[in-house]
Every structure is written in C-alpha cells, then in structure tokens.
C-alpha cells in the first residue's frame, strides 16, 4: 500500500505533461508554456479533489506525504530522501524566484489585443455594393492584386510574402477569424491598416498597409465580398 495511491496520480500528472510537451507537437504546433501549465494545474486539481472525497482516500493520499515529511519512523534511504527534499525545496524556490526576476534576453510574453474595438465611425456600416457575381469576381480580382501576396491565393494567410511577418497575416479560411466579425470591422481594418488600430490594440503589431491611400471605399467593399466568398465564410450579421 505504501506510496501506492500516490504513484498513480504522480504518473498521470507527469504523463499529461509529457504528452502536452512532447507527443502533441508531433501532430501540431508546440503549445506555449502558459497553456501547458494550465492543463497540468487542472489535472493536479482534479487529482486532489478525487483523492480527498472520503476520509479513507484522503488518508491514503496525504498519509504517505505527511509521514515522509515528518520523518516518522524513517531510516536509511527514506531519511536521506527526506533531508534532500527539505534542503532542495527551499533552493528550488530560491532558484525560481531568482530566474523570474533576473534580467534575461528572452522577450516577454505576447499580450496583444487581436480585435480591438473599432472607432465609432466604422460601427454598423453595411456593404453598399450589391452582392452580384460580377462584383464578387471584381473583388476577387482586386484581392489577387492587392491582398494575395500576403494573405495567400487560397485565403489561408500563406501568401509568398507571409513568411516575413511575425505575427503572420490572418488566415481567412479559419472559422475563428473573419467569420466572427461584421463587414464594417473588415472595412475599418483594410481602410486604416495597422497604423489605424485604436489605443487598446497596443502594441500595434500589424504590417497591414493603410489601403485608403490606394483604394477607393467601393473597391474595399468589393474586396471584402470577394474575401468572404473565396474563404467560404459568411460575415457576422444581426438579421
């Protein structure tokens, strides 16, 4: 019984960590540390909840821990292990504190607001261009000329120039991008570009040009129509 009910949870938690850190990246992009921490913390919470449901299971879970820490009736290896933990733990805390406060050359975590609220004059505008096949085709033509170098011919954000940007250009075929937004929002972002982002969008990390310099409003509206059609998405509406 000794350590038995502790072993399984410990293996589970380490297993989840190893899965998130090393196995999942084999299939998709690696997870940021913040997310791994979140999931591991949730697992640990679940383990504690499950272990403390009844008096017996609580004793089975915490018993070995308290006995180990209090050094009750210990000898040999266990005694040394306890001493090691008692010495190493404060050192670990100290090292953590040091490494989190010491200056380093790693840039701080990203905290950019992706969808800042648009200025008042762009709220609630609707597309004045009738949705006809000709206009959509015209929009796609303009898209191919002005947008596709970065946002990609397949509307997937993988244009030839996209590799040069961090953050990369938006992927319109992802249902969590333009499908969540109204057309007026896109109109604002295209017309005013990265420099036109509002204060709450700080830091302004967008290489989007201010297209109002080159395109007429009418052309922008057509591009929006072409984008939605090409990416097989529908804009958010209220009707």
């Amino acid at each position: 019984m000794k350590g038995g009910s502790l072993l399984k949870p410990a293996i589970l938690n380490v297993g989840i960590y190893l899965f998130l850190k090393f196995v999942l990246p084999l299939f998709t992009a690696p997870l940021p540390a913040s997310l791994i921490f979140l999931y591991v913390a949730l697992t640990a919470t679940g383990i504690v909840i499950f272990a403390t449901l009844s008096g017996q299971s609580t004793e089975a879970f915490f018993g070995p821990i308290t006995r180990f820490l209090s050094g009750e009736g210990q000898a040999g290896v266990m005694k040394m292990a306890r001493l090691l933990v008692l010495v190493l733990f404060p050192l670990l805390v100290g090292w953590q504190t040091y490494s989190s406060t010491a200056p380093s050359e790693v840039p701080p975590a990203e905290n950019r607001t992706i969808h800042p609220a648009p200025p008042g004059e762009f709220v609630g505008l609707s597309n004045p261009i009738p949705n006809t096949p000709e206009n959509v085709m015209a929009g796609k033509g303009l898209y191919a000329a002005f947008c596709s170098p970065c946002h990609g011919g397949n509307f997937d954000g993988k244009g030839p120039a996209s590799k040069g940007f961090n953050p990369p250009p938006a992927n319109f075929s992802d249902p969590t991008t333009i499908a969540m937004l109204q057309e007026s929002y896109l109109f604002w972002r295209i017309k005013k570009g990265g420099v036109g982002l509002s204060i709450e969008g700080m830091p302004w990390k967008s290489a989007m040009p201010r297209w109002e310099v080159e395109l007429k409003d009418e052309q922008i509206w057509k591009i929006i129509m072409g984008e939605y059609d090409g990416a097989h998405q529908k804009p958010r509406t209220w009707e």
Binding site: T28, P30, P32, A33, S57, A109, K234
Partner: protein, 1075 residues
C-alpha cells in the same frame, strides 16, 4: 521518540531549537520586508535595515518561544518554563555578540592561511605543468575545502553553545507527565490566546490598519504603456452665473422668471427644449409642487411624502446653487492620494454585494417557509427564520452603504448626477417609496414570525413574505434602469418627466440585467448562507449543532447550484443584447481590452462548479455510510468531464506566448487549440458542465435509496438515453457552429443547446421524483459527519461568487470605456481611463475581503442574541505590477502563516480566504495588463480654423462624438435604421434646411420608406441639437453642416469667417430665415 536532555547532544538540541525558530520568523519578516518595499524603503540598508531589525526582535522572541516549547514538549517531555522565548532570545543575542565577531576573525585567518598554503602547494612542479583551468580548480578546491571545514566547525560550535543555553533551561524544567495526545493539546492551547474575541478584535484592527497602509502606498494611476500619449487638460466648464443667464434669456427679475418658467412647465405638453441642466438646478427647489401635481389622486399621504423627499433631496442635488461662482459648474471633485474613483468603486461594490445578498435571501427564505408549511417539517421553518435573521441584520448596513454611495456620487460627480437626476427624478421618488414599503414589510415579516405561526395567520405571514419579494424585485430593477441607461442610453427628446424617465428606463439592456441580477442574487445569497453554515459547522461543539449546520450548508449549496445552472444563459442573453446595441462595446468586452477578463471569469466559474460538485460528492461519501465504493466510478467520470470542459473554457483564443513560442505556432492562435477560444466551444462546454452538475445533484438525490417501482428499469434507461442524446446533440451543435454563419449559431444553435439542457432538467427531475416516491431507503443519510474541508469548500464557493460579482461589476463599468453615459456624456476627469486587470483585481480582492469581514461581523451580531454571547506609477523601486504582486504574495503569505500557527477556527477561515484572494490577484497580475485610455478630446479652437475644410474636419469629429449624431444616424446604409441615412445629405439639402433640421427638428419630419408597407415615422425622435443635453454651439453646428456638405462631395458653403470669435459677445445668427 522521547529524548532525555542528558543524553541528547548539545549540538542536536541547539539545531532543534534554532533551525525551526529561524523559519518560523521568516514569513512574518517577509511581510514586513514587503511592506517596507511598498513604502519605498530598502529593507537591507540604512533606515530600512534598522526598522527591520527592530521589528525582528518581537518576531524572533515569538519564533524562539514556539520552537522551544515544541522541542520541550515533544522531544524532551518537559514543561517549558514561562517566557522561555524571551530568555532564549536574550541569551542567544548575548552569545551572538560574543561569538560572531570571534567566528568572523577565525574564519578570516583560516581562509588567508589556507590560501597561502594552497599557493605554496601550487608551486610544486607536477602541478605547474597542468592547464590554467585545472590549476585554478585545484587551488580553489584546496583552500575552499579547508575554509569550509573551519566554517562548519564554527557553526557546530555555535550550535553547541546555543544548545548549552537550551540545556540550562531544560535542567530547571519539570517533567511533563501527560500522554502524547495531552502534550499535543497543551501545545495547541499554548498557541491559542485565551481570549479569542480579543484576538478577533486585534486581528480586525490589524486588517483595517493593513488596508489603510495599502491605500496610502498603492499608486492611484496605471503606468501608461505608451508615454507618447498626452492627456488633454481637463476643460472646466465656465461657472454658471444665474444673473448673466437671466439677462441673456429674458429681461425679467429672477423671481418673476422662475414663476414664468413654472407656468411654462405647467402648460407644456412635452418640450424639454428649455429644461436644461442650469434651469434644472434653479428649479429643483420647486420640485415639490411639480411632482406633487404629477402625483394627483394618489392621496395626500403620498403627496406629503413626495414633498418631504423632494425637500430632503434639494440640498443634496443643489449643492451648487448656494454658492454660485465658486462650486457651481464643478464637474468633478477628487480626494488626493486615494482617488475619488477608488472610493466610489469600493463603496458601490460593497453596497451592491450587500444589496444582492439582501434581495436574494428573501426569495429562498420564503420558499423554505412554504416548504416547511406544506410538509409540516419544522426544521424548514426554523431555517427560513434563521435566513431572515441574517437579513434583518444586513438590511441596515446595506441602506447605510447606499446612503454613503449617494453622498459620494453627488460630491464627486455633480455634473453626471445632475444629468441623471434630471432624467430619472420620478424613479428616484418611486425608489424611495419602495424602500419604505420594503422596510415595513421586512419588519412585519421578521417580528411577526412567531406570532403568526398558526392557521390563517401563517397564510398572512406567507403573503407578507411574497410582498417582501415583490418590493425587493422592484427595488432592484429601478436602480438597474439608472445603471443600464449609462451603458445603453436611448434618445430622450421630449415628453413629460414621467414619459422621459420611462423612456430612459426601458433601455435595451434593462431587462437582461434585471434577470441576470435576480438569478445572481439568489446564487450569492445561497452560497453565503452556505458559507455561514460552513463556519458554524467548523466551530460547532455539539453533535446537534453539527447536524443542523451540516444540513443548512447542504441547503445553501443546493440553492447556489440551483441558481447557478440558468445563470450562464441569462449572461449570454445580456451579452447578445450588448453586441446588438453597440458592436463597439461588444468587441471591447469580448475581443478587446476586456477579453482577458473572461478567462479569469472562466477560472472563477470553473472553481465554483468544481467546488459545488466536490461538496455534493463529499456529501455522498460521508453522509451515506458505505457508499464510497459504489460511487467512485461515476464521480471520476463526472470529474474528468468537468475538467475537460474547464480546460476548453479556460483556453484563450489568443494565447499568452513568448515571441519564440508564437513563431513556432505561427501567430498567437494555436492551429489546433485555437478553436477552443471562440464562443461556439465555450457555449458547448458551459452547457456540458451544467449537465454534469445537474447529474451530480440527481446522483446525490438518489444515493442510499433503492427503487421499488416495476418501471424503474425502463425509467432509468430512459433517463440515461435522454442524457446521452442531449450531450451528443449539444456537442454536435457546438462543432457544427464553426461551419455556419455567426447569426445562425447565435440565434439557433446556442439557443437550441440551452433548450436541450433545460429539457433534460425538466424531464429527469420529475421522473426522479416519481421514482423516489416509491423507493425504499437502504442507507439513512447521516448528518454532521462531513470533514472540516467541506466547511472550507462552502467558504471557497462563497468567495468565488463574491469575486465573480466584483469582476463582472468591473466589466460592466469598464465596457463604457471613457463615457459616463455611453456616447452621450463623456468622462473628462483624470479617471477617464480604465485600469488594467491586475490593478482592478487587487481592488476586487480588497472589496471581497471587506465584504467578507462585513458579513462576518453582521453574522456575529446575529448570533450574539442566541448565545447570550487589501501613485503616480513613478515609484522608483518597483513597477506597479511588481508592487501589486508583492502585496498579493504578502497576503498569501499571511494567510499561510495563519493556517500554520493559529488554531482558532474563525481566524483560520479568514486566513483561507486571504490565500484564495491573494492567489486570484496573482493570477490576474499574470495575464496581459492593458489599460483602456480615452482618445484625446476634440477642442473647438477658433484660432486653428483657416479654411472651410478645417471646419469640416472639426465637424466630422463632432458628428461622431459630442454631437452624438452617429448614435442614430449612419452615413451609408446601416443595419440599425433608427433615423434617416445621411449619405449625400449635403447635396440633397440646402444649408438653411440642415440648420433648421438641427435646431427645429420637428419642423419637417421625413418618413421611413425603406421598409415594407406604408411610410411611417422613424422610431427615434430627433432632439434639439443646440439645446441640452447635446447643446452644440453655433460654431459647432456650422462645422457639422460643413462636414455634411464635404462628405456629400458638395462645395462647402460655410466660410470660416462666420465662426464667432470668443471675444465677440453678440451671437451672430448666420441663417436668417431659420426661425
């Protein structure tokens, strides 16, 4: 285990006392170090060091005492001599003064000697041939180990001497004969002060002191992430001079003029045109007559009451009137150092929390009373009475905080309050009347409890309870209209006072907020009652008490969960209405600077769901003997589902990632997990969590009973089927939601998910009830067997609900960004920006803590009868975030210290709450910190106007800001057709016509031809633009006309020469025929 002082080495003895004593003192010293840092003093140099050393003396004495007593009792089985801490400390200090300088000198000689010897060894030929690195290593090792050995010997020497001091103490002590348990008890008692109420008082005083210190050290502004942002100087409105106003308007004497105005008011059918703020101030002294005349037919009592209320309100609302030229026209007042906003924040939040409790409790107190009356079970009646007792003692405090809030608002925001007062005066009156009725009903309900127990009297008492709830509901929705009007104002043009107040009341978010708050109040009330029961359970002394408070805790948790299940639906509805009212506000909340707040919200709600289920599950395993094995698997399954859902819910769309991590992911959206970040996924998991929690309850309900009905098997498989199908459909709809247009998902899929969950609840609940009617009880539920952690779980749930309310209160208030009244009245004070989450979270935690202390105090008062017994951003030492982090860490540390060293249950609960709040603040400080700053305000600067297009540029700004035109009008086709589309209006209309439309809006009204059927009027009426509340000046109106013309591609006919220079007094009328 027992060591004899004689056969224990002095070194061991010295180590046993000195090592724990050192660590005992550290947490307390860290708190002082943090406070010193917060105060701007380096704790390791100069005055800071001196203060720290001084403060360390009592800490060391205490720490020495604790560890010495422990060693004496546990290891040596000796009775520790009195004041052993002090004795050991001064003797130890003496030892240090003698020994440490000596040790320093010895170690110094040893090091120098070892270095010299090592250097001479290095001269040996064989070693000389080695590489430089190897030689340095060898030399370092040589003298280093020698010096280390000497150091170790010196440490052991110190321990030996200190152990000798301890042994001297031990030799004089008498042996302790008690059993080991007795010794432990004695040790416990030694740490608990005899007078616990004194301890509580001291602790509260220390808490208050800490809060005051926190206030005075905490900077009141958020560091601006963009220093280039320069705030505009606050434009103070010119003081209002009644005499000038009179001369300008009419050449009449003041008294006559007021009379004329009054007569006009009596005659007018609805023109608000002249009823601007200034006149409101002049007039409101006359309100009694005005209001009394509107209250015709309600009886003289009512009229008298109105006069009284209006008179009572007069000095408050009209502070400015008495001293014109000095205080008049002040838009804001401030309190230095602390800041008016922080004060109003704390007071308003406390008032709201108390009010939520006071309005939530009567709902279920009344239901409990009905249950007790219907079933004849006395314990329900007793519980209902106990709930009501909590109510009576918190009612007065709620009103007190309401009063303080009113004074603060009137004092700090005179302009805003005058505006709101102008619009909402009739509902102020209604509110006061409701308040009187509620008070009267509450007292009748409470004091009549025992007198109205039997027969018809009981029915009357139940009716009183019903009335209490009806009044309470209206008391909640009336102030809701004021707050929701600030967030989603509607156009108020004209009509009687009543009509205007009513129009403002019925704004788009009023009902969603009413419903959301009603449910949330029940949740708050339920969990707080649960926490109350939890604390009483923890400190219960008799089996009877344990039984009662265990049961009460169960009922409180049940009511909380019962309210929690529909709450997300109500919240979703509110959010949808906000998005529909204003896309900008919706994005600010969900995608913009407040988006991280919803991750914190998910965390808090997640803990709440986990805590509530945990309590249910513990109820099964503890109250139903022998059930643990049977329910282990289902509980594990539910726990895993809950954790998976919580994982999805807490995964943000844009992740916190370093540049390197973001590069690897290809942006801050993860390609796979990013899909968890949007509403479709969140709605799905929220519904699943609700289902799981519901099943937790059903399982608890059925535990320990065996169904005897013949159709039990069929019913059970039917319930399983319904649940399984419902869960699958909810998930399918959730996944499908990614592939349909947003509006289909919002209007149909999400609604369908909610309906499915409701359907499950509405089928399974009655089915289970039917099944259990004929079921036989196999194992009786045993109350009072829950472990202490169940009590703490109840407290945790209550803290989570309070934190959630403070968090969402901040969200509701911050979503208005730099507006007092969204799009209508701008906040031009220095507090127009919205603080970042971390700063806000610290205030939320402070509010939660203060509220918990208040409630604890109120409950303590309630139990007396029956017993007959946490500037400027330029702080030099640390950034604001770091400072708040150390404070948060300090609070956690203090909490941990309390849990470690104090046995008194109540104080332990406080320590637990402190840890939870500290951890919450730390989490909020860990997410990205963004403050929302107001855009620079447009000033009409005559000097800068050179050309007509300058005017048009100013006009454009006014159109979208001060003029509030865009609140209804769009330029180009719009989805919200409240008013005509202004695209090309400058080409269609002459400037004279536009001028007339702005200043005499009803002179010519356009019809709406856009929609089907006959042309009809637009839904919103155009207000007078040159009069209050918008009140554009002539120059501004001309600029707007210039903008409208430019926008329509027309030549601008307004010339800059028409702009009135500020020095010119005569108001040039540019358009002659406009009248």
């Amino acid at each position: 285990m027992t060591d004899q002082p004689s056969n224990t080495s002095s070194v061991k003895l010295g180590l046993a006392v000195a090592w724990p004593a050192f660590w005992n003192g550290v947490p307390a010293k860290i708190v002082f170090v943090l406070l010193l840092l917060a105060a701007g003093l380096h704790p390791w140099e100069g005055a800071g060091l001196a203060i720290l050393l001084l403060l360390s003396i009592p800490i060391d004495i205490w720490a020495m005492g604790v560890s010495a007593r422990t060693v004496f009792l546990e290891r040596l089985r000796l009775h520790p001599p009195d004041s052993i801490g002090l004795t050991l400390w001064w003797q130890g200090a003496l030892l240090n003064i003698l020994y440490l300088p000596l040790a320093y000198v010895i170690e110094g000689y040893a090091k120098e000697g070892a270095k010299a010897v090592a250097a001479s060894i290095m001269e040996i030929g064989a070693i000389k041939g080695l590489g430089v690195a190897e030689r340095i290593s060898i030399e370092l090792t040589l003298w280093g180990s020698a010096a280390a050995v000497v150091l170790i010997v010196l440490v052991i020497g110190w321990l030996f001497l200190f152990g000798w001091i301890v042994r001297r103490q031990a030799s004089g002590a008498r042996a302790e004969e008690a059993s080991y348990q007795g010794l432990v008890r004695q040790w416990d008692l030694m740490r608990v002060p005899a007078d616990q109420s004194l301890l509580l008082t001291v602790f509260t005083a220390a808490g208050v002191l800490l809060v005051i210190m926190l206030w005075s050290f905490m900077p009141v502004t958020t560091p601006h992430p963009h220093e280039q942002y320069k705030k505009e100087a606050v434009k103070v409105e010119p003081p209002f001079k009644p005499a000038e106003a009179l001369q300008k308007t009419e050449k009449l004497s003041q008294g006559k003029w007021i009379n004329v105005r009054l007569r006009e008011q009596a005659d007018r059918s609805g023109s608000v045109g002249l009823a601007n703020e200034e006149i409101f101030m002049l007039n409101h002294g006359e309100h009694p007559r005005r209001i009394a005349s509107t209250g015709r037919g309600e009886g003289s009592l009512l009229a008298g009451l109105l006069v009284f209320l209006a008179l009572a309100g007069a000095p408050l609302l009209g502070l400015a009137q008495d001293t014109p030229g000095q205080t008049a026209g002040v838009a804001y007042r401030d309190i230095p150092a602390v800041g008016s906003r922080n004060i109003v924040w704390v007071i308003a939040q406390l008032h709201l929390l108390l009010a939520g409790f006071v309005l939530g409790v009567p709902i279920f107190a009344w239901i409990c009373e009905i249950v007790g009356w219907k079933t004849g079970e006395k314990r329900y009646d007793k519980l209902a009475k106990e709930f009501t007792k909590l109510l009576t003692s918190s009612y007065a405090t709620t009103a007190l905080f309401g009063g303080i809030l009113l004074f603060m608002l009137i004092g700090f925001y005179p302009k805003l309050m005058a505006y709101l007062g102008d619009i909402f005066f009739p509902s102020f009156v209604v509110y006061c009347i409701l308040f009187l009725l509620e008070t009267a009903t509450l007292y009748l309900y409470w004091y009549g409890w025992d007198a109205m127990q039997e027969g018809g009297k009981k029915k009357l008492h139940l009716f009183l309870g019903f009335l209490l709830n009806v009044f309470a509901f209206f008391i909640m929705i009336v102030p809701n209209s004021w707050a929701t009007f600030q967030a989603s104002p509607v156009v108020i043009a004209e009509g009687s006072d009543m009509a205007r107040a009513w129009a403002a009341t019925w704004n788009p978010t009023w009902w969603p907020v009413n419903i959301h708050r009603l449910i949330a109040n029940v949740v708050l009330g339920g969990y707080i009652c649960g926490a109350y029961a939890g604390i009483r359970y923890l400190s219960a002394k008799t089996a009877e008490e344990r039984e009662h408070y265990d049961w009460m805790g169960y009922v409180g948790n049940f009511i909380g969960v019962f309210g929690l299940l529909p709450l997300p639906f109500a919240g979703y509805w509110l959010m949808r209405e906000i998005y529909q009212y204003n896309q900008q506000m919706g994005i600010t909340l969900m995608g913009g600077f407040l988006s991280w707040l919803f991750i914190l919200q998910a965390m808090l709600i997640g803990v709440l769901f986990l805590g509530s289920n945990y309590y249910f599950w513990m109820g099964i395993t503890h109250r139903i003997p022998g059930s643990e094995v049977k329910y282990r698997r289902p509980i594990m399954a539910m726990l895993v589902i809950l954790l998976l859902c919580l994982g999805v819910w807490m995964t943000p769309h844009s992740l916190v990632a370093s540049l390197e991590e973001a590069r690897k992911m290809g942006g801050t959206h993860h390609p796979l997990l990013g899909v968890f970040g949007v509403m479709s996924a969140k709605m799905t998991v929220a519904n699943l969590m609700i289902l799981v929690t519901f099943m937790s309850f059903i399982m608890y309900w059925r535990a320990g009973k065996e169904e005897t009905a013949g159709w039990a098997k069929v019913a059970k498989s039917l319930m399983g089927g319904v649940l399984g199908v419902a869960a699958i459909v909810v998930i399918v709809l959730g996944v499908w939601g990614y592939f349909v247009p947003a509006i289909v998902r919002i209007n149909y899929f999400s609604v369908a998910q909610v309906l499915i969950v409701l359907f499950v609840m509405l089928t399974i609940t009655p089915l289970t009830a039917l099944l259990l009617r004929s079921a036989k009880t196999t194992t009786e539920m045993v109350w009072g067997r829950m472990p202490p952690r169940a009590g703490y779980t109840l407290v945790l749930n209550a803290v989570m609900v309070i934190l959630l309310m403070t968090l969402m209160g901040y969200a509701r208030s911050s979503s208005r960004v730099h507006w007092h009244i969204y799009g209508v009245m701008r906040d031009s004070s220095q507090y127009a920006y919205s603080p970042a989450l971390g700063y806000a979270a610290v205030l939320m935690s402070l509010n939660t803590f203060l509220f918990c202390m208040l409630v604890a105090f109120i409950f303590w008062v309630a139990t007396m009868g029956e017993k007959a017994k946490a500037g400027g951003g330029e702080r030099g030492l640390m950034s604001e975030v770091a400072l708040l982090q150390v404070i948060g860490l300090g609070v956690v540390g203090l909490g941990v210290t309390i849990l470690l060293f104090i046995q008194a249950r109540f104080v332990r609960v406080i320590g637990f709450v402190m840890i939870v709040l500290g951890l919450f603040s730390m989490t909020a400080l860990g997410v990205p910190q963004m403050a929302s700053l107001p855009p620079a305000e447009e000033k009409f600067d005559v000097a800068n106007i050179k050309t007509a297009s300058d005017m048009a540029a100013i006009g454009q700004k006014i159109f979208f800001s001060k003029g509030q035109c865009a609140l209804c009008h769009s330029i180009g086709p719009s989805e919200s057709a409240r008013c005509p589309d202004l695209k090309g209006i400058g080409a269609k209309l002459t400037r004279e016509f536009i001028y007339e439309s702005l200043t005499q809006p009803q002179a010519y009204v356009y019809q709406d031809y856009r929609h089907e059927g006959l042309p009809k009027e637009y839904p919103a009426r155009m207000p007078y633009i040159n009069k209050n509340p918008i009140g554009l000046s002539n120059n501004e109106i001309l600029s707007v006309i210039a903008f409208l013309q430019q926008m329509s591609g027309e030549p601008i006919t307004v010339s800059p020469s028409e702009v009135t220079q500020p020095t010119q007094t005569a108001a040039a009328i540019p358009v002659t025929h406009a009248q």
